[in-house]
């Protein structure tokens, strides 16, 4: 990538330029993650120090905030609620979208284009538009006050995107796969489980990762469902309510926040590639 400058000025070799760009990017990255890093450091400061010490590093580091958040502010309950909703919705969503994507992507089923069209039409529906009927439906089913209801409704968010991802992927696979299975006398269910699913591993991981992120960070739905039932709160809602209820305990809040972000950031850092692939696939499709 040569530029006008490089021809005139031997000081600005492409390599030097890259080093300069790296330094600038490093500075930008530092500014970018500063709020998160600041919060993690703040969670080790006692409440008295939080506002009096403007520096990042705590003078007297303490885990007191974590103990208080975990025990007294019910963060332990919220943590396990979130874990339950996340794991459950990941399992259900991946199975349901893989099955549906497989059929819509490569089975000559009458009506599949109608279903596809209907799904694409609903792709951009805002959550604020569906939240009232979703809550009403859960109440009628007797699930309005249970974590199971929250888990099921959480499956709804991205099922369309995931199904389309699976469908797109399955369409590209060679047609001979099923024929070979049929010749060998393998039934359709076994074909799906032992031949198709293993081949779709990259999409499965992508869906698992994206749904984990979605479920872990979800806000409007758990907020509405737990309005009357604080014991069912997820971490996001718990932290939000923490702010309203114990508005002086900022140390506890930052500790609770750190507890909420650590699992999802670890998941992201280890499975980064799948986050990126999943998102990139959404644009290309």
């Amino acid at each position: 990538m040569a530029d006008v400058m490089t021809h005139k000025d031997p000081f600005f070799t492409p390599r030097r330029r890259r080093q300069l760009v790296s330094v600038l990017l490093a500075a930008l990255s530092a500014i970018w993650v500063y709020p998160l890093v600041w919060m993690i450091f703040a969670s080790f400061k006692p409440n008295s120090e939080l506002f009096s010490n403007p520096g990042m590093i705590p003078d007297a580091p303490t885990v007191e905030n974590y103990v208080r958040a975990w025990r007294e502010a019910n963060i332990s309950t919220y943590f396990f609620n979130t874990l339950f909703v996340t794991v459950g919705s990941v399992v259900i969503t991946s199975i349901a979208s893989a099955l549906m994507g497989y059929v819509l992507g490569r089975r000559p089923v009458p009506g599949r284009f109608a279903i596809m069209g209907l799904m694409v039409f609903t792709l951009f529906i805002p959550q604020g538009y569906t939240i009232i009927p979703v809550f009403e439906l859960l109440t009628k089913l007797g699930l309005g006050q249970s974590l199971w209801g929250l888990m099921l409704a959480t499956c709804g968010h991205s099922i369309v995107v995931f199904t389309l991802l699976f469908a797109g992927y399955f369409t590209q696979m060679p047609k001979e796969l099923e024929e070979a299975c049929r010749m060998d006398g393998v039934g359709p269910v076994k074909t799906f489980v032992y031949v198709m699913l293993p081949l779709a591993k990259p999409i499965i991981v992508t869906v698992v990762v994206m749904q984990s992120l979605q479920a872990w960070n979800d806000f409007l739905l758990p907020l509405v469902i737990t309005l009357a039932n604080p014991a069912m709160r997820t971490l996001s809602v718990g932290i939000y309510s923490f702010k309203g209820e114990n508005f002086v305990d900022w140390g506890g809040m930052t500790a609770a926040s750190t507890i909420a972000i650590v699992p999802i950031i670890l998941l992201f850092l280890f499975l980064q590639r799948y986050f990126i692939d999943g998102l990139a696939g959404a644009v290309k499709g």
Binding site: L50, P108, Y129, I132, A153, S236, T254
Partner: protein
């Protein structure tokens, strides 16, 4: 095979239909049904779950037309979209072009850093920002005062005139990482040979960008703009967890308005579920209209330039 009757084909596909059941149940219950039900609910005078609802026809809609809070929230939602989407797309594009350079060794690391706010729960971002931007000894105000950029503390989230801009900056910070990934995916469709050929021919790098790369990634711009625009209209979590629409409703966007009307009315008032549904219907239809307009525009553009995409 082609002459099979429909009945026979349905019967042959019975296992496929079985496969569809779980997905269709979720889709039907949590997407399709709510879409349809919202229309029905929007015609009701309904003061709470479990309460009796009364059919009032289109009264909710006519009332909404005279509700200045609704107007303000509706306009604000779209202003917020216009305030964030262009900056976010431009910033992400510049970063993507820089990070797409294969010789840049730490590219993946920088990408991960920019992406971190995307995976952070919005409720947590709410806490961080309220603390960082606090007018009472908050670190950002401290920094601004120390460097002399301001002479008085700025109440970033408490002043009706600047709150929406503050939220726009926080929003762009949170979501640029995702737009960056979209642009990178678009840039990956540009063949490496193109850069090499251009280099051999002595074409300057900005010329490569403007005349060769831009036309290739242009069709993606429409999709990315659409996704970003819709995302910016669904900004409920960020606003609810920082300002809850305040101060004095000055950051109340559509979804916050719907939430307040349906689930968190001011004390002494009843929830108005039918009314909120009607607001939701208008908002949802506007978004669908936006999607359709965008799709038509993109198809027109593509037809004019059939060589690309």
């Amino acid at each position: 095979m082609t002459t099979l009757t429909l009945r026979r084909r349905l019967w042959l596909s019975r296992i496929d239909y079985l496969f569809l059941i779980p997905g269709l149940l979720i889709f039907g219950a949590f997407i399709l049904w709510p879409m349809l039900a919202s229309f029905y609910y929007s015609t009701l005078d309904w003061t709470g779950f479990g309460e009796n609802a009364k059919f009032v026809g289109l009264k909710n809609f006519t009332d909404l037309l005279h509700d200045e809070f609704f107007y303000a929230a509706f306009r604000r939602s779209f202003s917020f979209m216009l305030m964030t989407v262009p900056i976010q797309m431009l910033l992400a594009l510049v970063l993507a072009i820089i990070l797409n350079n294969k010789l840049l060794k730490l590219s993946t690391f920088f990408r991960a850093m920019i992406f971190l706010p995307v995976v952070t729960p919005v409720a947590v971002i709410g806490i961080i920002m309220v603390l960082l931007l606090s007018p009472f000894n908050g670190p950002i105000n401290g920094l601004l005062l120390d460097t002399g950029l301001v002479t008085r503390v700025v109440d970033f989230l408490g002043s009706p005139t600047i709150v929406l801009w503050t939220l726009a900056v926080i929003y762009v910070w949170k979501w640029t990482g995702i737009t960056l990934i979209y642009w990178l995916a678009a840039l990956q469709t540009v063949p490496d040979e193109l850069y090499e050929a251009a280099k051999l021919d002595g074409v300057k790098s900005w010329q490569v960008m403007v005349y060769m790369v831009m036309p290739i990634i242009a069709p993606f711009a429409g999709v990315i703009a659409l996704i970003s625009a819709i995302n910016a209209l669904n900004v409920f979590p960020l606003i609810q967890s920082t300002t809850q629409g305040g101060p004095f409703f000055s950051s109340e966007v559509m979804e916050v308005y719907i939430f307040r009307t349906a689930f968190a009315p001011a004390s002494g008032q009843f929830p108005r579920l039918g009314y909120a549904s009607a607001a939701g219907v208008i908002f949802g239809l506007s978004i669908i209209a936006l999607t359709i307009v965008q799709a038509i525009l993109m198809r027109r553009i593509r037809r004019k330039e059939p060589t690309h995409g």
